[in-house]
């Protein structure tokens, strides 16, 4: 299959493929961060996670429409407003869901899974009723279009670079919040010993609600970032849910660094294989390898030995 390519061309292809892999990596990280917080810290499976992302994407779409209609002069910065809107709306809905549903199910993780699946169906249909079944896209601000030439044969898209930068920022923010702030300390305290955390005056219920809200809000930002590289439809969330869960489980549910490492491994494997075979087979092989490794090492790739 390398026939007909010069060495330089091959190098360029691999570089571009690696760049595509990096974008996929960013997407995976964005998707998984919210889930890693909710699943890793709270042990809750939120099957509607994908729909929270799509909610963020639709919020971005709405904001861009509003800017175009009323503030066309500020179109260059609408995206930053949209991200904030996406975070707040998804996060608020997440907190509402936690309050009305999830909190009754903390002792029944499998039931949470079913209930949130129901939620995802309702959200999908709501998107379809409100925004229509067709996919929608946003208009990128001018500065985000086009690509940067790195060499004669290699060029990188600016929106891709932007998503990568954004991912780095958000990952760093989550890290600071979870491991360097007092709030993060409280969250981790509740995870490790709920009774004791309650006894020392932490409102465990409030921590649960905000943690869930934060996870959903980050999903919203992820959805917002998606609009930069693709269009949004009502059922797009379902496409990502399996990948996202596997990334989190593969990384070892409780570890943020593990999540990022596993997102990197899976995305690079998939984009590299896509060069050699059809997209669907690359996906099948990637998922199979992940499932296979999980069979051999169910606790995930990046966990320390701990006492049972």
């Amino acid at each position: 299959m390398f026939m007909g390519y010069s060495l330089g061309e091959l190098g360029s292809i691999f570089a571009m493929q690696a760049f595509a892999g990096l974008i996929l990596f960013s997407v995976f990280v964005l998707m998984s961060l919210g889930l890693a917080i909710i699943f890793g810290q709270m042990g809750v499976i939120n099957m509607a996670h994908g729909e929270f992302m799509i909610l963020g994407a639709y919020m971005t779409y709405l904001t861009s429409q509003l800017f175009q209609a009323y503030l066309p002069s500020l179109n260059g910065i609408y995206f930053f407003v949209a991200m904030a809107v996406a975070f707040v709306v998804s996060g608020a809905l997440g907190m509402l869901v936690e309050w009305s549903m999830i909190r009754f199910l903390y002792k029944r993780p499998l039931d949470t899974l079913l209930a949130t699946w129901g939620l995802s169906l309702i959200m999908q249909q709501a998107f379809r009723s409100i925004f229509g079944a067709r996919e929608v896209g946003v208009e990128l601000p001018d500065w985000m279009m086009g690509s940067l030439p790195v060499t004669d044969t290699i060029e990188v898209q600016i929106n891709g670079l932007f998503v990568m930068g954004l991912t780095t920022l958000i990952a760093a923010a989550v890290y600071l919040l979870m491991f360097r702030s007092r709030w993060g300390l409280q969250v981790r305290a509740v995870v490790q010993n709920r009774t004791m955390a309650g006894a020392v005056g932490i409102s465990t219920e409030r921590i649960d609600r905000y943690t869930f809200g934060l996870g959903c809000g980050i999903a919203g930002i992820a959805g917002s970032a998606f609009t930069m590289i693709g269009s949004t439809g009502p059922t797009a969330g379902q496409l990502y849910i399996v990948d996202t869960f596997l990334v989190v489980v593969f990384g070892g549910a409780a570890s943020l660094a593990g999540t990022i490492a596993s997102a990197f491994t899976i995305s690079q494997a998939q984009s590299t294989m896509e060069f050699f075979m059809s997209g669907s087979m690359a996906k099948v092989l990637t998922l199979l390898v992940v499932v296979g490794i999980l069979m051999l090492r169910p606790e995930g790739l990046f966990v320390l030995k701990v006492r049972r």
Binding site: M101, R108, L110, L113, V249
Partner: protein
């Protein structure tokens, strides 16, 4: 009368009532089209009944039952497709004698794994054994390493996704997104006629009643009690000298084999099999049938399957956009408000009144009100 005896009698009465409803009442009141539709729903009931054992009793939630349903269905469909692809029937193809979709995909020879499906006996065995063996490999790897709960659910869900992508992607070998269609005869018997569908409906009902009785036997045996014990206190069972994994493997494979039979009956009655019955969405919908019926009740699972599918059909006919709201609401309601489903409602509201009617005290059923499995 010991409580155990009353229970057994009560169970049998329930099975008899269900059998009468399915085999006498419905065929009398429904036209052939609707009866065939009920027959289609009842093939899902095989999955639902298996999930009662697997999820309700043993606490193992599989979100990949569609895979086993599909495997059983595809095994049947491959046999029927080969029956329909005689060299005479396919002589306009560039390679006569192979299924049409292979010909369209420039495949010139029957793939090796299709060859054994020329035999009916092999195909019938495969309907049960292929899903069971697939489940065995998966369950062996996961349960021996003590993977359970949500991890197991997620991995089975990933498998459902993988299987769908694989079937859709490998069009030449599987028929792709359309599935295996245009199935005609079984050993020369045309399955598309109304009379054939009528007969297949009864075959289906018989198999389903047989499956329920088999499940009842398993639940009444010590193995059934061990499953419940494991769901409660896995470590205690392990330290009572049991190899916990082997029991989980058994019940998972058992449920998979049942699902395979359901899939095969689906193919026979509906006349095709496609990846849309394999993926994440159908798999998790099959769980809701069991949940609505009552995750601990075999009969409830059958009624739950019928009810949800009936609602789906009637809603989709008149208000298609409302159906997803309804189904989503059902998932949430059944989990939050009625974790024991229809069977739970029956036991709390109907049975006491029935008991009063016949002037008998209600026996304390051991599985009447357990907390939902985690």
């Amino acid at each position: 009368m010991t409580p155990a005896f009353t229970l057994r009698a009560k169970d049998l009465i329930g099975v008899v009532i269900l059998a009468l409803l399915l085999a006498v009442v419905l065929p009398l009141v429904l036209d052939p089209f609707r009866l065939n539709m009920v027959g289609k729903y009842l093939t899902y009931a095989f999955v639902a009944v298996g999930l009662v054992l697997c999820w309700g009793n043993a606490g193992i939630l599989s979100l990949g039952q569609g895979v086993f349903f599909g495997l059983g269905g595809y095994c049947m469909a491959m046999y029927l497709k080969l029956q329909a692809s005689t060299p005479e029937a396919t002589k306009i193809q560039s390679t006569p004698g192979i299924p049409d979709f292979m010909d369209w995909n420039q495949i010139t020879q029957l793939p090796f794994f299709w060859v054994p499906f020329k035999s009916l006996g092999f195909s019938l065995l495969a309907v049960v054994l292929v899903p069971a063996l697939f489940a065995l490999v998966l369950a062996f790897a996961l349960f021996k390493r003590r993977v359970g709960g949500v991890y197991f659910a997620i991995i089975t869900q990933a498998l459902a996704a993988i299987m769908t992508i694989l079937i859709v992607g490998q069009q030449g070998y599987t028929g792709g997104i359309n599935g295996i269609t245009d199935l005609r005869t079984l050993q020369g018997w045309d399955i598309r006629t109304d009379s054939a569908k009528f007969i297949l409906y009864f075959v289906n009902v018989t198999l389903l009643i047989g499956a329920i009785l088999l499940c009842q036997f398993v639940r009444r045996s010590k193995l059934g009690r061990i499953l419940v014990a494991m769901r409660d206190k896995e470590d205690r069972v392990r330290f009572s000298g049991y190899d916990v994994a082997s029991f989980k493997i058994f019940v998972f494979c058992f449920a998979a084999a049942l699902a395979g039979v359901g899939g095969a009956m689906f193919t026979l009655q509906v006349g095709f099999m496609s990846p849309s019955f394999v993926g994440i969405t159908p798999s998790i919908e099959m769980v809701i049938y069991t949940a609505v019926g009552g995750r601990l009740s075999l009969l409830g699972a059958v009624y739950g399957t019928l009810l949800v599918n009936w609602a789906k059909t009637s809603f989709s006919e008149s208000f298609p956009e409302l159906w997803l709201f309804g189904l989503g609401g059902l998932f949430i309601a059944v989990v939050l408000l009625f974790p024991n489903g229809l069977a739970g409602l029956y036991r709390s509201y109907v049975e006491p009144r029935l008991g009063a009617l016949f002037g008998r005290k209600r026996p304390a059923a051991p599985d009447a009100t357990p907390a939902p499995a985690e």
